[in-house]
Amino acid sequence: MLRYLIRRLGQALLVVAGVVMLTFVVMRLVPGDPAVAFAGPKATPEQLAAARERFGLDDPLWVQLWNYVRDLVTGDWGTSLHTRQPVRDDLLLAFPASLELVGAALLLAIVAGIPVGVLAARYKTKFPDFGVRVASMLAVSVPVFWLALALQTVFASNLGWFPVAGEYDSSLDTTSPLTLWTNITVVDALITGNWPILTSTLRHLVLPTLVVAAYPTGVIAQMTRAMLIEEAGQDHARLERALGFGETSILTRFALRPALGPVLSLIALVFAYSIVNGFLVEAVFNWPGLGRYAASAISSLDTPAIAGVTLLVALVYVLANLVVDLLQGLIDPRVRPQ
């Protein structure tokens, strides 16, 4: 197991290196001079030259690559052309916010999606199944901003049950300032026992979480359902019936575990995907997350920022996949690494 882990970690490093290379190459292939983005739309030629100098754009490509890799390793992820801050600082600000949102959403998706999938499989072709399938279909295919605006308009604007936007009521910053440890507000509020901020954040989280959770909940429900139906059709279900297990417990106690394999893969995929692809939700709910940062970096061709986001996301993917690969071995003993 340990040897497997070490080998797998080595491979993960290779993957990250691959992504770094690819990113570097693509960034250089993309036309649009980063110096222009940095110096502004009305820059003078001298200003441009200064910017080129500053980013080392006139060095040979391999020197640039070498510098880039060296800087990365030493923790210098470059300076954003747009925010003019070190990319790493920007990411350290934006990532926890996204993590908070996506984490909450995935938690919801797992907690809701799996039981709902079980329900649908249990009453296959009956009404609950029909309901679950239609609902999850809608959840998956509805345009995100549509859902976001609809929820915002109904529950925040019209009914006033939840705040319209924001991460927490920022007046609390003065009444009960939050000590930061992880930069994830919920976590920090929890570990420092800052209840006003905690409750405020949770209230602010509800609507965006629902929106982000829509897609994973739908997919997880459908995946769980399909895999359960498949698994419950296997030969072993007959023995379990003969032993007196009810249909529901056959599904949850025997079929669920093998069915969980693909669900797990999916969770890892959705997790990493949602981290950057939530920019519409983040925009609608004023959530200062990574998605918004990435989107603005892309639309302004902010090369160092794009590269930084790419690298971070690569790390997230690699980590998530690693965890899933390990878990998968635990779930299905037949594919354990030898």
Partner: protein, 278 residues
């Protein structure tokens, strides 16, 4: 314990098994022998309402439950707890991601069994064979001292000559014969009143088979266990069965006391069977 009248099982329009009469009382052992594909397994499965996709008609009463009319809840109450079934291909019948021990524990817990009951199987007496125990084995036994449940489990697997270590394994990590023995152990552990066994010893060598059959036979005498067994081994059948049903092409062609049927066969097929004995 089992009372069957005019049982008929159809897949589509094809009748695959028809049993006009079949009774097994407490402490009795009835065997079904017959041609491969003649509906033996189907008959057994239909006694617990497990023939999926089949049309079953007739009258089947098991442990006082009218199987064909029973609600799923009623059926679940007799399945496992009072009537245990040993399936024909045991390895495929085990959930691949569940350790054998987990499966057994869940089944026992499901039926509220938490420890050895009075008059339980005496066989494989407790903790007699620690000498050859591996480390893993001891850990199972170690837990046995804590929970009565573990003791039931260990006793059951030991009764069929399995190392309790097997409880920690997954189905794909055991041999065919081990799977078969585990299935029997499951039935024993559940302390069922009726055991329906579909070729329970076909993958066992004769020394082990003798032991396992001996245990089942012992249970008949001690607890009044009713045994309905499907087997191809006529010699084995002759040693334990009180009565025998011979099936061919979905029909019962001959039935009666074992001694009669196997020594003075009246139907040509039975005769053919006996002649084919190697």
């Amino acid at each position: 314990m089992i009372e069957v009248r005019d049982l008929q099982v159809r897949y589509g329009t094809r009748v695959v098994a028809r049993v006009p009469e079949l009774d097994v009382g407490a402490g009795e052992c009835v065997a079904i022998v017959g041609e491969s594909g003649s509906g033996k397994s189907t008959t057994l499965l239909s006694l617990l309402g497990l023939t999926e996709g089949a049309d079953v008609s007739g009258h089947v009463s098991v442990c006082g439950v009218e199987v064909l009319q029973a609600s799923p809840q009623q059926l679940r109450r007799i399945r496992g707890a009072r009537v245990a079934l040993v399936l024909q291909s045991p390895q495929a019948a085990l959930s691949p991601t569940t350790r054998l021990g987990t499966l057994m524990r869940r089944a026992l817990e499901l039926h509220g069994i938490t420890g050895p009951r009075g008059g339980g199987p005496e066989t494989g007496g407790p903790e007699t064979g620690g000498s050859a125990g591996s480390r893993k084995e001891r850990s199972w036994k170690g837990r046995a001292s804590k929970g009565g449940l573990e003791r039931v489990m260990v006793e059951a697997v030991e009764a069929v000559m399995l190392d309790p270590e097997i409880l920690r394994r997954y189905p794909h990590e055991i041999s065919g014969g081990q799977a078969q023995r585990f299935a029997i152990a499951l039935a024993i552990a559940l302390g069922a009143e009726v055991i329906l066994a579909d070729e329970p010893t076909s993958a066992l060598d004769v020394t082990v088979q003798a032991e396992v059959v001996g245990v089942l036979h012992g249970l008949r005498e001690e607890r009044g266990l009713a045994l309905l067994i499907v087997s191809h081994d006529l010699a084995l059948v002759s040693t334990i069965a009180d009565r025998v049903l011979v099936m061919k092409d979905g029909e019962v062609v001959e039935s009666g006391p074992a001694a009669d049927v196997l020594t003075r066969p009246s139907h040509p097929y039975t005769r053919e069977l006996l002649e084919a004995l190697p």
